[in-house]
Symmetry: C2
Subunit: 345 residues, 2 copies
């Protein structure tokens, strides 16, 4: 087979859901995970696409995820709604608590969603986009695994700690960014190691805290945060707000718990949602129209808006279907046929 | 006079307050502004210290601040408390609304303070430190003047948009960061222009969007955000959340309104406050103790914590007094004697 295979979103989503259901994951959880993975693939966001299936199955095989976890929403009427994922995937916990978060935010202007004890694959763009679809601005963040040294240090303490923001736009894809607060992803360094090529300067330090371009020394040492001490401070903030503040794992504990960076980490997550129509009310101005003036001026000077490549890929996929390479489709079929047994093949 | 002059905090604060009162600023506002400026000087945070007095007086002389503005707090019982600064200084508006913000945050876990129509000199560390003193974590942000181009662009649209975070520590100064989301401050480029020295690469682009090390070309062009497209996205988020969302000026409008970057900008500000004890409650863990584990591990590997230089200067100043250079003290005395007339000297 040498030709790409084109699937509809629903076909791809259904196939992925069946793979997880066959592996013992409860139906609603499998559906939520499949929705995110199919969305990632649709958006040509390959790191959250079908490539993720194998990683998720490895966590299942390792017994590090609770297959039948049913998220429990706790809403005491405060600004902070909580959902216990119970050691299951974060995606279904978010879905189960989303309506309550949206309703509370519209009512009071500002509300938080705390996700506890979840396996997260950090597709934070998915969450902030859904909230933008409800007309809400939002921030989302979570720790990960301690692989990043604070600026000026040499020992991994911080995670690649993703940070995402969504802002609703009228009649257009929302303004969405979602990035790791490390300069690079660990996987990128691993690719350089395998290829025997040096990594760019500024990505990492060796065990002694000295800058290195040797991928093996970088993997033995620590990655660096983006933007020097400023990015380091933002990554630390993410540890504190979505780890310590929630009483959930920070990146160091998440790594100690799983014992490897090869499996998805288990920790909490924090989402802050804001209703611009509530915040702007007394001003008499339309916050979305105001936002458009800035966003259009950014795009108008030729600067790229974040997520534009993703949205362009999505528009194509919705018109023409989602194209998988022969290799991707073959692996998908292998997982459909063999389930967890495909991992050992 | 060639020797430094040492003042107590209260003496310095009192002198600054009198300068503003003599210039026609209402007593409570003068006191609030003086508290921040004296605190900046105490912390050796020179850009917010006595150096600021002249800038504030210039805004007064230009008629761009409402001298007798009395902040109006609007609390409709939602998560977002608002205070109209009425074209006066932000500091007193923050002080007047702070108790309500603290009370609401403790009650519901999460609350926002919206400051409307204020003159801000962006000492955001001052606000998040006060909230940390009440045991709260907080984020603070505001736009400024459009002097920064978005990553990949060439026309100034974004401000130097400061971003601050505070986290309470037990028995220690809080964890606080406060930084501009531009690589450098405009004043730093101006200093290079006067000295005839090139600016470092990465600070700015010329009018055509090309990287430049020529300070004049940089001033005619645009500064750049820190951290490439990630910092640019964070700066854009600050425009949207603390400008568009509030129905207050973004940096472009603030510049159009004042017509110069030589005076303090007029705009709004957004503070998000969180009570870790509310967020952590169901976990049974102590969020402050958890935070200490990370913060101590960062410091323990020799990485500098943000604000440590400021806190060290404060400890010295509280023990030995606040030392002003002869030039600084002379200018202070000149403002005390002549008020606004000192500006033309």
């Amino acid at each position: 087979m040498t030709e790409t295979v084109t699937l509809t979103f629903d076909d791809l989503k259904g196939r992925i859901q069946r793979i997880f259901e066959m592996a013992g994951v409860r139906r609603e959880t499998a559906a939520a995970v499949a929705r995110v993975i199919a969305s990632g693939e649709r958006d040509a966001c390959k790191s959250h696409g079908v490539y993720r299936i194998e990683g998720c199955l490895r966590v299942l095989a390792a017994g590090k995820v609770v297959l039948d976890a049913v998220p429990q929403v706790h809403d005491a009427g405060t600004s902070a709604i909580e959902v216990d994922a119970g050691g299951g995937f974060a995606n279904v916990a978010f879905e189960d608590a989303c309506d309550a978060l949206v309703a509370r935010t519209r009512e009071t202007g500002l509300a938080a969603l705390v996700i506890r004890d979840c396996l997260h694959f950090s597709a934070l763009w998915y969450e902030v986009e859904i909230l933008a679809g409800h007309g809400l601005a939002s921030l989302s963040m979570c720790p990960s695994y301690a692989t990043v040294a604070p600026s000026g240090g040499q020992t991994p303490l911080l995670g690649t700690n993703p940070f995402a923001f969504g802002w609703p736009r009228a009649g257009a894809f929302p303004y969405v960014f979602d990035f790791a607060t490390s300069v690079a992803a660990r996987g990128e360094i691993e690719l350089h190691r395998r290829a025997g090529t040096p990594i760019p300067e500024g990505w990492a330090v060796d065990k002694q805290g000295q800058p290195t371009t040797d991928p093996q020394a970088a993997l033995d040492g620590a990655m660096l945060p983006f933007g020097g001490h400023k990015g380091s401070a933002i990554s630390t903030m993410i540890e504190l707000l979505s780890g310590a503040m929630l009483g959930e794992f920070m990146s160091r504990e998440a790594l100690d718990f799983t014992g490897t960076t090869a499996l998805l980490p288990r920790h909490g997550a924090l989402i802050l949602a804001m209703d611009p129509s509530v915040f702007a009310r007394r001003s008499g101005r339309d916050p979305i129209a105001e936002g458009e003036r800035l966003i259009e001026a950014i795009a108008g000077q030729g600067a790229r808006l974040p997520s534009q490549r993703r949205f362009a890929a999505r528009a194509m996929a919705m018109a023409d279907g989602i194209a998988l390479t022969p290799d991707e489709f073959e692996r998908l079929e292998r997982f459909e046929a063999l389930g967890l047994d495909a991992l050992s093949g």
